[in-house]
Amino acid sequence: MNMSSFNPVAAVLLIPIGAAALLALLPGYRLTARLNVVASLLTFLSAISLLLIQRPQPTPYVLVDDLNIVFIVLNTFVGFTTSIFSASYIAHELETGRLTPAYLRFYHAMYQIMMFGMNLAFVSNNIGLMWVAVEIATLSTVLMVGIYRTHAALEAAWKYFILGSVGIALALFGTILVYMAARPVIGEGQDAMVWTLLIEHAARFDPALLNVAFIFLFLGYGTKVGLAPLHAWLPDAHAEGPTPISAVLSGLLLNVALYALLRFKILLAASPNAIAPGPLMVTIGLISLVFAAFMLYRRRDIKRLFAYSSIEHMGIIVFAFGMGGPLANFAGLLHMVMHSLTKSAIFYAVGHISQVKGTQRIVKLRGLTVTHPVLGWGLVVGVVAIAGLPPLGIFMSEFLVVSSTFARQPLLAIVLVLGILLAFGALTLRLTSVAFGNPRGSTAPVEASYVPMFAHLSLVLIAGIYLPAPLVVWFQHVARLLG
């Protein structure tokens, strides 16, 4: 295959599908875990090549633009590092017998199908296809959440399933309404679902219909983003599934739903008479933030703690996009990237910790910096980052969100700061008890792969200190696209 015929879009879709088929058939842990890593690496490299070579023209099904490249690259990168973490995590699960070889095959195949679904959602130019892709990604994660088949895991999977299904059902209704709004202008058939055509003609759509459509889409995809009050599935799904899945749920799947929301937000913004989506997003974002910040104090399970922290950060991100304007959008985008990297790094650490200690309960985890210095300090750095302390990347993005809000809506900024401080307090409280103090539980050494965790954390650190100029220019451009 020569370079001119290489199609990166096809590659990011076909590599995961091919890998899923292979992984479903091949036996043996060693081979399949490596294959999973290799496939994820190849997908990541194809995604990178999207940056370098000329972009394909939008077709009725596929679109590559400045906005979704950010998401695709982030998605495949975290997918790749998680596959490395997953290899060492799963080895331990096989040893302890929590996973059988048959389930391992299933797990690996589902992992790649999930990557396929997420990548498809990002590149699809058709709002119907995007909906189907989000459904694929959700279904595969539901199956993985329930993989341990314990009572709690099944409960979590069922809840996720039912709430997720209601979410996708509402999103589909919204999608149908968008089609109804577009049909009189663009004409019947497939064209009225192509996003690039929709945006071109959005100004002439019936604004009332578009408003209702957005409400349904917001509720539907918002359920998947984990916004309060529709967040109930999120903590359970994070706590009961395998930790690599918690990492991709927080780091990636929430972004997929967020991306879908942003696409429709842009559509609504292009229609002058439709409602402004901003106030709705700002309100729900703030509610999620403050609610999750309070809930952080009552958590007894470490994965559940970080799941609520994801709700909190999703609240901040949706708030920032809801505020709109170049600066807030820039901050929201940066915050999303930083949150994905940091949260998955934290879950890598938590995964190894809960394996070696044999529990996820916070009271039973103490003095980690003494018993397992590398993991313990990794977790400390991660939590410091996620709580928004300088000099790490999240500090900068949160600072940008807060300062841009202060300039425009000081009252909202006060609520925002209050939420962030509350969450900071809860996380510090938990961190001190988990990381320091008298050691508890097993002190056995871990066979961990530290590379993914430290790769993410150093990226977050670098971003906090110095953002490369091309990246800033690019994000600013995307921020203007988002309106």
């Binding site: 119907g128 709690a152 009225a192 009332a208």
Partner: protein
């Protein structure tokens, strides 16, 4: 008052019938009868979709109608019948909310969807308008069934009736692409749920009013 054509009247009747059957689901207190009502729901949906295929001259919609008839009106109810029997939960449905308030809430939801959809779609053609208003009613009533029932099987029935509302909306939107694909995707989803119930013997929705039980499951008891 303008006279409507026959095609309008028939699709109106069928869509209205779906709303009515959704109401019937609200007050079923036996699982078997709930499943029977659902089979009727799916049958009416199949008729409605087939009628749309005829009047819109869209043969691909017959596929969707066939899926609704074969899969949702026959296979799924039969499979759920057997599951209910095997799990031994055919006696009754414990509904979390009484029938009276549920019916009132249902009426409120239907009124809401009528007011909302008829108002915002004032410019669309009347057939699609009313279809959409009925479809939203069916969706909301399906949601109501899901939240008022505690049993996994009846929740699934609620979800399927919700999904029927979506198929009604999608077929009513003339010329909408991907309808067949979406109905296939939904069928797969439902098959997954049903298999899930069967394999994992989920008897109850695990949400309980009893918070202490929840804390126990989640390992969050102090």
């Amino acid at each position: 008052m303008q006279m409507h054509s026959l095609s309008f009247d028939v699709s109106h009747t069928l869509a209205g019938g779906l709303v009515l059957i959704s109401f019937m689901m609200l007050y079923q207190d036996r699982l078997y009868s709930l499943l029977n009502v659902f089979a009727l729901h799916a049958l009416v949906l199949a008729l409605s979709v087939a009628w749309q295929a005829l009047i819109q001259n869209a043969p691909h919609l017959y596929v969707t109608a066939a899926i609704a008839l074969g899969f949702k009106a026959i296979i799924i109810p039969v499979a759920l019948h057997r599951i209910v029997k095997q799990l031994g939960i055919h006696r009754d449905i414990e509904s979390a909310v009484g029938i009276g308030p549920t019916m009132l809430a249902g009426m409120g939801l239907v009124a809401l969807s009528m007011v909302l959809m008829l108002r915002v779609t004032a410019d669309a053609d009347p057939l699609a308008r009313e279809d959409l208003a009925f479809a939203l009613s069916v969706v909301l009533l399906g949601l109501l069934v899901m939240v008022t029932r505690r049993n996994a099987v009846s929740q699934v029935v609620g979800f399927m009736s919700l999904e029927n509302g979506l198929v009604l909306a999608a077929t009513g939107a003339k010329g909408m692409p991907l309808v067949v694909e979406i109905s296939v995707a939904f069928s797969i989803l439902i098959a997954f749920i049903v298999i899930g119930i069967f394999l994992f013997r989920i008897r109850e929705r695990f949400d309980s009013v009893d918070v202490s039980a929840l804390d126990d499951f989640r390992g969050e008891r102090r």
